[in-house]
């Protein structure tokens, strides 16, 4: 009985020998640079609280998905009331970006963001590779905003 108990407990304990959780592999980071072309009538200035490029590694289901900051690459604030602009985002997580574009914050609330122009080449998907720069172009037509949430 005693020996059985000891063997059983030692067997259980040895299952912990693999050390469990470990740091995930680091696949490096890349850079996204982009150009933006604006057409159409710009919104009123009070509805232009913020404007940024947002690259998402997923396709959002609703505005609550804008909180998945872990899965997004976000630029600094963009110029407003211009016809053309450029952006650059460094140290971006590598992988596929499935839904990306220019987002406008139209109110003070946390989730008051909406897409005003999407990256549409190659089905809207681009890839970021380690130590590589990915170049994209986005066209924003304020008179013809993308449907949100997107139809899958």
């Amino acid at each position: 009985m005693k020996l059985t108990c000891i063997i059983l407990l030692l067997s259980l304990s040895l299952s912990a020998c693999d050390h469990g959780l470990e740091p995930p592999d680091f696949s490096g980071t890349g850079t996204i640079v982009g150009t933006i072309e604006y057409v159409g009538q710009w919104p009123a200035i009070e509805e232009l609280q913020d404007l940024r490029f947002v690259g998402m590694r997923f396709v959002p289901r609703d505005t609550s998905d804008f909180l998945q900051l872990n899965l997004m690459a976000i630029s600094g604030g963009l110029k407003k009331q211009v016809d053309f602009d450029e952006f650059r985002v460094d140290e971006v997580t590598t992988g596929l970006y499935l839904y990306s574009g220019i987002a406008q914050k139209f109110d003070a609330d946390l989730l008051s963001w909406r897409p005003v122009g999407l990256y549409t080449n190659d089905g809207g998907i681009f890839s970021v590779a380690p130590n590589q720069t990915t170049e994209i172009h986005i066209r924003v037509d304020f008179n013809n905003l993308p449907i949100f949430p997107p139809t899958q």
Partner: protein, 746 residues
């Protein structure tokens, strides 16, 4: 009129004024005296302990039929019926049968009175003082990690899957100290460190709803910490421990923190003194201090405790108890990591906007916490059939934030002050030896002021008066069959606009189908009223959280079938096997609510948890070797979707082994396993990197100790196999650490 009252009183109690007494001797079957055997007259405060020759004497007893229980460690307890005529001084000689292997465990939580653990008709686990000492347990979460069916998610206690993870807000397990509720006034959280660690007699864990006896909070179970009584000879204990956290094995993790490569120290000191000053007065005092530099950045803490308890029995029929506790703690509260590649550094999150790399880490707010508990009680034994208890309780807590930049305390108005206070009266009636009844009333209130709360009136000061009436019946239907029933009605005045009421019943049966083998069937209801924090928190400093005035109480219902027993098998083998079916409705959890553009505590749909638990304990004949194993299986589902409930481990194993190695040297090990939760869901994972990562937990602790005279030395290695795990999202579980402990007891 006055004369009539005296005559009436004499008619009723007159016989009790005579000098009846009972004296005798307690012997083993071999005729040897049993020193220290306890002789108690049931339902009264009368009793005595046998002297070195087995002699005892109980004077001033009431006349009539008395039931006397005789017990001693290592012997089977016995009950005798004695008829005392008026003025009779009876002499008896009783024998006890040698039991050797079975412990004389008693529990109090199941029925608000002491009773043998074997005959309790519900699932209860007991952690003895000896077990707590062997493991160098210094906080409640440390202790509970070794209890079968209990899962600890950082600071949240989960009994049989009742709780998920909600950052210690709204505990679904009621914590009590000597039977008095001890949940924080603001969040109904469990004060895990508010314990007199060296003066704990045992910790009882009731698995299943306990609201029929204890009201709100006992939705998933009850933890009752019972403090020690007083020794016949004065006892002093001084304990010191010191140790170190070993640096984690992965360089990637160590590089994220400037101190990642260092051994991080911790140490502590405690001293206690207890004595029975006279037959009518006893007391103990205990203080402790510990400092832990922490194994992660900003995870250190300093904790000071002071506890004292005194009991005064001016007459055999009166008893006054007072317990006072103080705790002060300064801590860095590491909430979430930077990422799975940087687990030793707290995260930096600018919620809703792109992260600002220069922002101070808000994954580890600093706080200075003070707590005070004051628990007086008065017991009066009226006669052999009646006694009553009046218990008071005050539990206050103060949380003062510390400025990250300057290290100075912020204003109290930026923190939280809360008091939970109240009293209860309990009348115990034992009309016959086979019938026991309890009736009670309780009244409590909560007053909390916090910069984070906005009550219905728009004020930051709130109160939540509550009142309850309860009753409890134990009836032995036959020699082998015991029935227990209970009913409690609770009334909560949440605020001016909201009143909550709840009726909580329970029924159970215990059937002794063979000597020492008991089958039990238990059914009961549980509920929990939302805490202040869940209902009223309205703040946007760390996360946008809005209050929810429509929050409803959570409810649970449980049915359990179990069997408990023991047999001789090359020693003594004990077991407890149970299956249970629990249903829950209105679970309160934080969720992101789009309509509010913020997080909010909301009621979730119904859920069901089915499960089974098996526990075995075996001790060899010479009592040199003891092994204990428990396995718990949980199948938890949301009724509407059929999905698993988040953060519940389907399989859990806890095991321990203790053995005398050589002369006064003993060794032991504890192992715990819990499987990766079937589902991990947290809105926090949306913005905290890698918060969705969970896995198995497999932790082995080793210990060895030796004694010489009044000294004891022990070496403890926790997480000896260096297994890395997360107990809850984005927090690395404790890595390997080494502790040296020295104890002097005289």
């Amino acid at each position: 009129m006055k004369r009539m009252v005296v005559i009436l009183w004499l008619l009723v109690f007159g016989s009790d004024l005579q000098a009846q007494s009972l004296k005798g001797r307690i012997l083993s079957e071999d005729g040897d005296p049993i020193p220290g055997a306890n002789v108690l007259v049931e339902g009264t405060g009368f009793g005595a302990a046998a002297d070195a020759n087995g002699h005892f004497e109980i004077p001033r007893l009431p006349s009539g039929t008395l039931v006397v229980s005789i017990s001693s460690i290592g012997f089977y307890s016995n009950r005798m019926t004695v008829v005392l005529a008026v003025g009779e001084q009876k002499e008896v000689e009783w024998t006890l049968r040698v039991k050797v292997f079975e412990s004389d465990e008693v529990v109090v939580t199941a029925s608000r009175r002491e009773q043998p653990a074997l005959s309790v008709p519900v699932s209860v686990s007991i952690l003895s003082a000896d077990e707590l000492s062997r493991r160098n347990v210094i906080s409640l979460d440390d202790a509970l990690r070794s209890v079968s069916g209990v899962q600890v998610l950082d600071n949240q206690i989960n009994i049989r899957g009742s709780s998920g993870f909600a950052y210690n807000t709204g505990s679904r397990v009621l914590m009590m100290l000597d039977g008095r509720p001890l949940l924080t006034a603001d969040s109904d959280g469990i004060p895990l460190e508010a314990l007199p660690s060296t003066e704990i007699e045992r910790i009882e864990v009731l698995k299943g709803p306990g609201s029929a006896l204890y009201g709100s909070g006992a939705l998933g179970g009850v933890i009752n910490v019972i403090t020690k009584d007083y020794p016949d000879t004065p006892t002093s204990t001084v304990r010191m421990f010191a140790g170190t956290w070993e640096p984690v094995r992965y360089a990637t993790w160590r590089q994220g923190w400037a101190h990642g490569d260092e051994f991080r120290p911790f140490w502590g000191l405690s001293a206690s003194y207890s004595e029975k000053k006279s037959p009518t007065f006893g007391w103990w005092g205990n203080f402790s201090f510990r400092r832990d530099s922490g194994y992660m950045e900003l995870s250190g803490r300093d904790v000071f405790h002071g506890f004292g308890k005194a009991t005064w029995r001016p007459k055999p029929s009166y008893k006054v108890d007072v317990l006072l506790g103080l705790m002060a703690k300064q801590q860095d509260d590491f909430i979430f990591w930077a990422s799975a590649r940087d687990v030793l550094s707290p995260g930096r999150v600018s919620f809703g906007d792109p992260p600002d790399p220069n922002a101070s880490p808000n994954g580890a707010p600093d706080n200075f916490v003070k707590q005070i508990s004051f628990l007086p009680s008065f017991t009066h034994f009226l006669n052999a059939h009646w006694f009553y208890e009046v218990k008071g309780r005050v539990f206050g807590s103060l949380v003062q934030p510390i400025d990250d930049g300057t290290g100075k305390l912020k204003k109290l108005s930026e923190g939280t002050v809360g008091f939970r206070y109240g009293a209860e009266g309990q009348l115990n009636w034992f009309p016959r030896p086979e019938t026991r009844m309890v009736f009670g009333l309780s009244r409590d209130a909560i007053t909390t002021r916090s910069s984070f709360f906005t009550t219905t009136n728009g004020d930051d000061l709130g109160g939540q008066p509550e009142a309850a009436i309860f009753s409890h019946l134990e009836q032995e239907l036959s020699e082998d069959l015991q029935f227990v029933g209970g009913l409690r009605y609770d009334h909560y005045q949440v605020d001016d606009a909201t009143v909550e009421t709840r009726l909580s019943p329970k029924l159970s049966l215990a059937y002794t189908w063979y000597p020492g083998q008991v089958v039990r069937l238990a059914w009961g209801h549980g509920f929990r009223v939302p805490s202040f924090a869940e209902r009223f928190t309205d703040d946007r400093e760390f996360l946008p959280i809005v209050r929810n005035l429509d929050l409803r109480p959570e409810r649970s219902q449980s049915i359990e079938l179990g069997i408990r027993g023991s047999i001789r098998a090359a020693g003594q083998l004990s077991w407890d096997v149970s299956v249970f079916h629990n249903t829950y409705s209105g679970f309160i959890e934080p969720r992101l609510v789009l309509a509010e553009q913020a997080f909010q505590f909301i009621n979730l749909p119904n859920a069901t948890i089915d499960g089974a638990e098996i526990q075995f304990e075996w001790q060899d004949q010479a009592q040199r070797f003891k092994v204990r194993t428990g396995y718990t299986y949980l199948d938890s589902k949301e009724d509407a979707t059929g999905e698993d409930l988040p953060f519940r481990a389907r399989h859990q194993i806890v095991s321990s082994l203790d053995s005398k190695i050589w002369k006064s040297i003993s060794g032991g090990l504890d192992f715990r396993f819990s499987s990766e939760p079937e589902r991990v869901e947290s809105d926090f994972a949306r913005f905290i990197p890698d918060a969705e990562i969970m896995g198995d937990t497999r932790v082995l602790d080793l210990r060895i100790s030796g004694t010489k005279g009044p000294f004891e030395a022990a070496i403890i290695v926790n997480n000896a196999l260096e297994y890395y795990y997360v107990e809850r999202p984005a927090l690395l579980g404790a890595p390997r650490r080494y502790t040296l402990r020295l104890t002097y007891r005289q």
